[in-house]
């Protein structure tokens, strides 16, 4: 039965090749536009550490002074997304969270000992010990360091796989020494391929940045007077900056602060702890605004930072409207085509075909067009995504393959998206076919037989 319908549909479609091509082409365009924009959206909307949702929290404190000069973001109610050094140190004393991380980005010059390699600049994540266990960082060799190493500070580092390849040819480098700005550091761990996208734990330098290849214990901040290679925002008018020491004492925010709290009791206790800390600080003239300390999970954090962006939303919205136009278009063309074949339908009805037969047969025809369009749409979306990759490719500042990998990750269609594409094309066919098939099925056969 189905096979017969399919045969009939194909024969009918072949009879009007131009119309079939136009209809399928329109559907293909609509599906391609939708798929391209939804793929981009999908990549941005991904949850990079979903298995720990509800356990990881970003901590923000409203350090801002009474009035803030300069432009306000779209959400002036949000506290600054980064915290000050003294507040981070104070929060770090709490043992309520299971794990806690304060960190920022700095830069160092690596002086390789390998022949033929020139010194080069590398971004460094300066962080407390829990970073690796908190964010489930996979290790190729070795491991992270202990909290004691933060205090030391011990001359230890963790390096990424890319750097390990560059410096040590990919061999197990645990125990080897790396010279950073003239100081020797011992490698304790090598991170395997790891690229959470968006890079949720530090969105301040761009949501789709690459993880750093060097990790250094937090204690080196003061020991080496490490500069910040990221945002520094002085949030009160009283803040006065002039030296590295001011960075540590003034109300300037530049650190990310994250905690891991699996239980509700911990969360409630920690929120109370933070609020009490802020209330206590008010007596020194700090935190002049009403209590506004937000401890938020990864999902909320990504939303607050507007990682998806209005641009992606606009593109998806317009593409959806476009798909609607394509569906209407198919609907109209199919209706016209079916109605022009009405006399033959009348004949078939008179010879005993039931209404359901006619409807099913016509619906099959539209679904076939929808699937043809869907296949074309998948090809077109591949082309479109390829074009976007070419358009947005920035020759990276170094030879790091990860930059390219991110561009690819952002504009690549995975199995889910392929499945969605097929589903959308089937749905398009059905939505566009239902009405014309129903109209043609309802027709009175006598009317057409008479006019013959």
């Amino acid at each position: 039965m189905l096979l017969h319908d399919l045969k009939l549909a194909l024969r009918n479609l072949r009879r009007t090749p131009a119309l079939t091509a136009l209809t399928a082409g329109a559907i293909a365009c609509g599906i391609a536009a939708t798929m391209v924009t939804v793929t981009l959206y999908h990549a941005r909307a991904g949850h990079p550490i979903w298995w720990k949702e509800g356990q990881l929290f970003a901590v923000t404190l409203d350090t801002r002074g009474p009035e803030q000069g300069g432009p306000q973001g779209p959400h002036p109610e949000y506290p600054p997304f980064l915290v000050t050094y003294r507040d981070a140190k104070a929060l770090y004393r709490s043992d309520i969270p299971t794990r806690a991380v304060m960190m920022y980005r700095s830069a160092r010059v690596v002086e390789p000992t390998r022949a033929g390699l020139k010194p080069f600049n590398a971004l460094v994540r300066v962080t407390t010990a829990d970073f690796f266990s908190m964010f489930d960082v996979p290790f190729l060799y070795g491991s992270g360091w202990t909290r004691a190493a933060d205090e030391g500070p011990d001359p230890v580092i963790v390096i990424g796989r890319f750097l390990n390849n560059k410096l040590f040819g990919g061999a197990n480098s645990v125990g080897k020494l790396v010279s950073l700005n003239g100081h020797e550091f011992r490698v304790v761990g090598v991170i395997d391929n790891w690229m959470p996208q968006p890079r949720f734990y530090d969105l301040s330098t761009g949501a789709f940045d690459v993880p750093e290849y060097l990790y250094m214990p937090f204690g080196w901040t003061t020991a080496l007077k490490l500069d910040v290679a990221g945002n520094v925002n002085c949030v009160t008018p009283q803040a006065k900056v002039g030296s590295f020491n001011d960075l540590l004492t003034q109300d300037c925010v530049w650190l990310q602060y994250w905690v891991e709290m699996p239980t509700l009791a911990q969360r409630e206790k920690f929120q109370a702890f933070v609020d009490n800390y802020v209330r206590d600080q008010k007596q020194y003239g700090r935190f002049v605004r009403p209590l506004n300390n937000r401890i938020v999970n990864v999902n909320t954090w990504l939303a607050m930072n507007d990682v998806i962006g209005d641009e992606s939303r606009l593109q998806v919205g317009l593409a959806a409207l476009f798909l609607a136009v394509c569906i209407l278009n198919t609907l109209g063309l199919m209706l016209a085509k079916f109605l022009s074949g009405a006399p033959i339908i009348g004949l078939r009805r008179a010879l005993g075909a039931s209404r359901r037969d006619i409807m099913r047969q016509h619906l099959t025809e539209v679904v076939v067009v929808g699937v043809l369009g869907g296949l074309g749409g998948i090809v077109l979306s591949w082309l479109g995504l390829w074009a976007i990759r070419v358009l947005t490719y920035v020759p990276a500042l170094d030879d790091d393959p990860a930059h390219l990998a991110i561009a690819q990750a952002l504009s690549h269609m995975d199995a889910t998206m392929l499945f969605v594409a097929v589903l959308v094309s089937l749905l398009t066919g059905i939505v566009a076919g239902l009405y014309p098939a129903w109209r043609i099925g309802r027709m009175q056969p006598a009317l057409f037989l008479k006019s013959q």
């Binding site: 924009t37 006065k240 002039g242 030296s243 593109q315 317009l318 209407l328 109209g332 109605l339």
Partner: protein
């Protein structure tokens, strides 16, 4: 003339026309809003930078030796770069103005008390003495500021805190701070470091970064501070005579690194390239939106064409009958064109409402001004023409139906 019969005929077979009208309505809404958003983007893309972008390149000196001396490196490098044949001026800078790395923002005020609650933020362009020449910006009043500092600060904070006693600023910032137009010679007070400086020069315009978003006009409120950027990583901007950039760049690439021991060239790039990289998002999103607009027009044209062709095909006998009883060819042609025009117009009317609604939403999303009405007018005319164009071929075919058809049985 035959409008009433025409409407009656339309009403009897209303499904097709209604579908097309809805299609046209959505198309108008999408088209008009895309055109507006893209035109705003193109304006942002083309916005003058005030900088001699085409004749500038930058080179990053990366010191690594523990005894690297920034002070002598700056002296040596500036003397070398400024001495190359074809170079107009070279200067060391803390940030690259079109580099896309953002900049240094500071709060400014016109009175010493004002810095307690400063309302005006701006970008700081910290450069060595010949900075304005190296940028190629146009000084419209006063002179370039000068600094006598000789020892660079250990870090960026220190470098900014050194703050020279005289500065220049863009006309935009000067106008915002001193609306009477008397900025020259006045004192500028800067928050965070709480230092005053005399305004000795006004620059016509300059654009740093970012160039879009809520901070975009911030990027054009620039204060030029002469001073020494901290090491060990330093950017040098080199401006050459027109046409000699690449030649100078090649020479610098060959011999720059060895002029100072204990450093290497971190990166080198033309400012053209940096500025283009910074605008990649604007470019690609405009292309995506433009492609959607063209496709939606094409699909709608196909729809209109299809409906008209269907109408002509199913009415062949009726057309023949009309011709047989005296209708001229042009009457038939007009009939179909008018029929289509009525459908398009119905769609366009609904489309205008849709377009305004969508435009209101977008203006909130992207902080744009309200959709200008002439965009709507252009959109309406474009769709009328599209409708006419798509109907023309089927209508011509209809007008060439022979009267004799009426007498034949199909």
């Amino acid at each position: 003339m035959q409008i009433r019969t025409l409407l009656k005929a339309l009403w009897r077979n209303r499904t097709g026309p209604v579908l097309i009208a809805v299609q046209i309505a959505i198309t108008l809404a999408v088209l008009v809003n895309i055109a507006y958003v893209v035109s705003v983007r193109i304006q942002a893309y083309r916005r003058p930078t005030g900088i001699d972008v085409h004749n500038i390149f930058w080179v990053q000196s990366q010191g690594f030796a523990t005894d690297f001396d920034q002070s002598s490196a700056l002296r040596t490098d500036l003397a070398y770069l400024n001495g190359i044949a074809g170079v107009i001026a070279a200067a060391a800078t803390a940030t690259i103005p079109q580099g896309g790395f953002g900049g240094i923002g500071m709060p400014f005020a016109t009175t010493p008390e004002g810095v307690r609650a400063p309302k005006m933020g701006g970008a700081v362009q910290l450069m060595t003495n010949r900075g304005l020449e190296a940028l190629g910006v146009k000084l419209i009043a006063g002179r370039a500021p000068h600094s006598d500092a000789v020892s660079p600060a250990p870090d960026m904070m220190g470098a900014i805190a050194q703050w020279a006693p005289e500065v220049a600023m863009t006309a935009l910032l000067a106008h915002k701070l001193f609306p009477k137009g008397d900025a020259l010679g006045k004192t500028l007070y800067t928050g965070l470091i709480n230092k005053p400086a005399k305004i000795v020069g006004i620059v016509e315009r300059m654009q740093t970064a970012p160039i879009t978003g809520p901070f975009a006009d911030y990027a054009e409120r620039v204060v030029f501070v002469p001073g020494l950027p901290p090491g060990p990583s330093t950017f040098y901007l080199v401006r050459t005579q027109p046409g000699r950039r690449d030649e100078v760049m090649a020479q610098v690439e060959r011999s720059f690194a060895d002029k100072v021991p204990g450093r290497y060239i971190g990166h080198m790039e033309t400012l053209d390239q940096s500025a283009s990289n910074m605008r990649i998002g604007l470019r690609s999103s405009s292309i995506i939106l433009g492609a959607v607009a063209i496709l939606v027009l094409a699909v709608t044209a196909i729809g209109i064409f299809g409906l008209a062709a269907f109408n002509v095909a199913t009415r062949t006998r009726q057309i023949g009958t009309r011709r047989a009883v005296g209708a001229r060819k042009r009457h038939i042609l007009h009939y179909f064109l008018i029929e289509n025009w009525l459908i398009t117009t119905a769609g366009v009317v609904v489309g205008c409402i849709l377009a305004l609604a969508l435009g209101a939403k977008l203006s909130v999303m992207f902080q744009l001004q309200r959709l200008p009405l002439y965009y709507l007018a252009f959109g309406v005319v474009a769709l009328w023409l599209l409708g006419l164009g798509a109907t023309l071929v089927p209508a011509r075919k209809a007008s060439s139906v022979a009267p004799a058809i009426a007498t034949r049985t199909v």
